[in-house]
Symmetry: C3
Subunit: 218 residues, 3 copies
C-alpha cells in the first residue's frame, strides 16, 4: 500500500452506503476522524464514537496532507452528486481511499483504480479493470477481462460476464445480468433484474419485463 493508505479517514455521507463502508473500515482497524452528513446519524450504531460534521466544508479544517477521504454516497442512476463531490475535493488536493472488504474475492491479476469500493462478497476475476471511484457492490461478479468505467455503480448481486466494457457513469442495478462481450456507453442504466444481451447507447435505459403482482392461491 502507498503511504496515504495509513492516514486517518473522513467519510462523506452518513446513509446506508456510508454505513457499509464504515463497517468494513472499522473491521480493518482504520482510524476514522469524522463522518460528514447534514442529517442525524445517531440511529446507526456503526457510527457510534465517530465525530459528526454537519457540512462538507467542515472537512476543510483537515488538510489533504493529513487525511484521505471516503465517498460514502451511494450513487443512484443518473445522479451526479457523488461525482461532483469527488471532483470538488480532488481539485482541492484531497485523495479518495480505495475500500475493499476482506470478504471480497479479487484476482491478483485484476486492476483497481484509485477510490474504488469493493463490498462484501464481490468477485473480480483475472484481467478485469475497475475504473476510478467505481462501486462494486455486495456479491456482484465482474468476470475476466471486463473493463468497468469510472464512477460506475455495479449494484448488489449483479453479474457482468467476461470481455464487457462499460464507460463512465454507468449504473447496473441489483440482480441484473450482462452477458459476455457487451459494450455499455456513458450514463446508461441497466435496471434491477434486467438481462442485457446487446450493446447499449449512451444515456439509454434497459428495463426488464415487468413482474406481475396478483392475489390468490398458489
Amino acid at each position: 500500500m502507498s503511504s496515504h493508505n495509513l492516514k486517518p479517514l473522513i467519510i462523506i455521507g452518513g446513509g446506508g452506503h456510508a454505513s457499509v463502508l464504515v463497517d468494513i473500515l472499522r473491521s480493518q482497524d482504520r482510524e476514522i476522524l469524522a463522518v460528514v452528513s447534514p442529517d442525524d446519524i445517531a440511529h446507526r450504531s456503526v457510527f457510534i464514537g465517530i465525530k459528526h460534521l454537519k457540512n462538507d466544508d467542515d472537512l476543510l479544517a483537515y488538510t489533504p496532507n493529513e487525511v484521505v477521504l471516503v465517498n460514502g454516497i451511494g450513487m443512484m442512476p443518473r445522479s451526479k452528486i457523488k461525482r461532483k463531490i469527488n471532483e470538488k475535493f480532488l481539485s482541492l488536493g484531497y485523495r479518495f481511499e480505495t475500500v475493499i472488504a476482506d470478504s471480497a474475492i479479487i484476482s491478483e491479476y485484476a486492476s483497481l483504480g484509485e477510490g474504488v469500493q469493493v463490498l462484501p462478497g464481490a468477485i473480480i476475476q483475472a484481467g478485469a479493470v475497475i475504473g476510478e471511484y467505481a462501486i462494486i457492490n455486495s456479491g456482484a461478479i465482474i468476470e475476466h477481462d471486463t473493463q468497468i468505467g469510472c464512477y460506475n455503480h455495479i449494484a448488489p448481486g449483479s453479474v457482468i460476464c467476461g470481455q464487457c466494457v462499460t464507460k463512465e457513469d454507468v449504473f447496473v442495478g441489483a440482480g441484473a445480468t450482462v452477458i459476455q462481450s457487451v459494450n455499455i456507453a456513458e450514463q446508461a442504466f441497466v435496471a434491477a433484474g434486467a438481462t442485457l444481451t446487446t450493446n447499449m447507447p449512451a444515456s439509454s435505459i434497459c428495463y426488464p419485463s415487468r413482474a406481475q403482482i396478483t392475489q390468490g392461491d398458489l
Copy 2:
C-alpha cells in the same frame, strides 16, 4: 453465546434443508443427538451416525433444559408447517438454535433474532434486522437497514436491497431481486426470478414474466 448454545441439538426434519443445517452444525463440532423425521433418512450421508427418531413427540423424551431444537423444515410459500412446529415446541418451553454458516458474511452491526438460520455464502449488511426463525438461504444478500420479518424464507441467491421491510411469513424465491425501500406485507410471495419494484399487499404474489422454452438452433 448464551449458555443454551452449548447444549446438544435435536433436528426436526430430515430432508434437504435439514441436511444443509446438519452439514453446518457438524463442521462447527456441535453435538447432534437426533434427527426427527417420519421418512427414511439413511440415503443422506450427512446424517450417518446420528440417531433417527420417527415422530416429533419422540423428542419429548429430552427436556427443554437438556436440548435445543433446530427446525430443519424448509419453509415453502404459504406453508405454515414450519411455524406450527416452532410454536408447539416453544409453548412447551423449548428453544430453537440460531444456525449461522461459517462462510456467511454478517455485519457486526446487523441484528439476528433467535432461531434465525443463515446459510453458506449469505451476506447481511450493517443495520439489517433479521426476525426470529427466518431463513436467509445460501448466497442471499440482505442489504443495509433492511428489516426481515419473522418466519421469512429468503431463498438462495436472492437480493433484498437497502431499507426494505418485510412482514411475517414472507417468501422471496430463489434468484429474486427486491429493489431498495420496498415494503412487503404478511404472507406475500415473490416468485423465483422476479424483480420487485413496488410494495406488495398481504398474501399477494409477484410473478416474473414467464420464460419461453423452444426447440431449434441458437
Copy 3:
C-alpha cells in the same frame, strides 16, 4: 488427494476461462508447464512466465505419466469443442485435473467427478453430485441433492435449487435461476437471466422475456 494431483499441469486454451483457472492454480502453487493456444497470450499477465505451446499436439511431448491436463476452454452453449478435446486426450491416456478455487464453498457431503472446475465463490451444498468435467462458474449456487451432468457449464451467478437433475452437455447461463426439482435433458440451454420452472426436453432452449432498451428520463 490422489498422487496425480501433484503432477505438473498443462493448460489447454489461453482465453478468459483459462486465465481464471491459471489464476486459481497459481494461488495454490501448482506447477504449470505450459499453456497450449494457437493465439497470442502475451497480453494476459496471468500467463507470464509460463511456456506457450501453439498446437494441441505439442503437448504429446509430455506423457500421460508426467503431466495432468486442465481444459481451459470455456464451454459455450451447444459447442462440442471442450468435450471433443477431453475425449481425444482421455483416449490417449491423459487425465484432467479437478480445479477448485479456495474461495468456493463446497459441502463435505457433496460429490465431485474428475476434471470438475469450481470457480471462485461458487457454492455446492450437501448431497449435490457434480458430473465429470462440468464447470461450476463464479458465484454459482448448486443446492442440496441436485445432480449436475457431465460436461455441464453452470455460468456465473446462476442458481440451481434443490433436487434438480441435469443431463450431459447442459448449459445454464449467467444469472439464470432453476427452481427446485426440475429436470433438464441433454444439451438443453437455459439462457442468461432466465427463470426455469418446468422440465426441459433435450436440446431445447429457455429464453427469458426480453429486456427493453429505451432512451429518456428515469
